[in-house]
Symmetry: C2
Subunit: 204 residues, 2 copies
């Protein structure tokens, strides 16, 4: 956004907003306009940011969002989660997506990304040491790799699986296939071929 | 966004982010994830918000964004803007759009919205008193109403024009017509009919 009579403080707010994911110059401007028009909204946003800054910390066990006081996230604290499966995901938002399905009662491990040498993300940038430790000491019988289906994610899953050849438990991944409710004609060939290869018996 | 182990501070940040224009639950989550992953970004955003809160104020003349110290925006301060035209717009972002065209060298007046009785926006909610004052004392010879083409905007333009029947200057609006670079076949019938009615001579 060029000058056009914009005061410097506003220009630097726009520049910061544009660093947020999914926010371009136009949305940044719309957001800045909205919060400048409504001082209560500006105040509320400021306040909310200070709150998360002081009160939220990565869970020391799994890396998910935890209250700073507790240090452990609500999922790790939940004694009713007894499924002996550790589900490895990329980011906290992935946990939310899986939790929404209400189909998983084990624990999570947030990797913080996937191996991506071209972007400079190597083993050291991921929470891998912590993962090995949890698997050694924990009562897990299965590692479920839920890192997505990008080439980088598949490589990372393969890397983790290889590191775990001596581990006693099972190593699994989410099934690839046709999304529930989708029409066959709209499915890409790769998904379709996987879904054919991994076809399941029909029980009646 | 339901529970799913989200700490309260984070849940309230998500709720606040969702109040921003164009931000839904998914984008709010992506933004929260990004700023929690990168503490420097959180700090920077916090800082930028405090800055605009203390340093930006509506220009006391036109209502555009001004530095609090000056009280007047850069456009009102610019002595080279001598075109005796006052351009009335809805919001500060409209000023930016017009400035980008570099085709206008007069002053602006930000109304802060348009009359919309159904949403409870009446004369008192707009910067109209200030507009009458500026037109009485100012050296303007023309009021250019650039409020947009929604029914509410047209009503507001009509309302302003009627209040100004005794005023000495011209009252104008932006031409409606075919956007430069558009194909005729994609233009809606209303725009096309206006553009036909207001056709212009071709000079060679």
């Amino acid at each position: 956004m060029e000058g056009y009579g914009l005061p410097p403080a506003l220009r630097s707010l726009l520049a910061t907003l544009e660093k947020l994911p999914g926010i371009g110059p136009r949305s940044a401007l719309r957001i800045a306009q909205a919060i400048l028009k409504k001082p209560t909204l500006l105040e509320e946003l400021s306040q909310a940011l200070v709150e998360v800054q002081t009160k939220i910390t990565p869970c020391r066990e799994c890396g998910y969002w935890a209250e700073a006081e507790a240090g452990l996230c609500m999922i790790c604290q939940d004694v009713r989660r007894t499924e002996p499966v550790l589900c490895v995901v990329k980011e906290p938002a992935d946990v939310l997506a899986i939790e929404r399905s209400q189909a998983f009662r084990g624990h999570y491990h947030i990797l913080g990304g996937v191996l991506d040498p071209l972007s400079g993300i190597t083993e050291k940038d991921l929470r891998l040491d912590n993962l090995w430790k949890r698997l050694q000491k924990g009562a897990y019988e299965e590692v479920l790799l839920a890192l997505g289906t990008s080439p980088e994610a598949e490589t990372t899953a393969y890397y983790i699986a290889r590191q775990l050849t001596d581990w006693h438990g099972k190593i699994t991944r989410f099934a690839s296939g046709i999304p529930v409710g989708s029409e066959l004609e709209y499915i890409d060939p790769l998904t379709l071929s996987r879904s054919l290869r991994e076809r399941q018996p029909v029980y009646i």
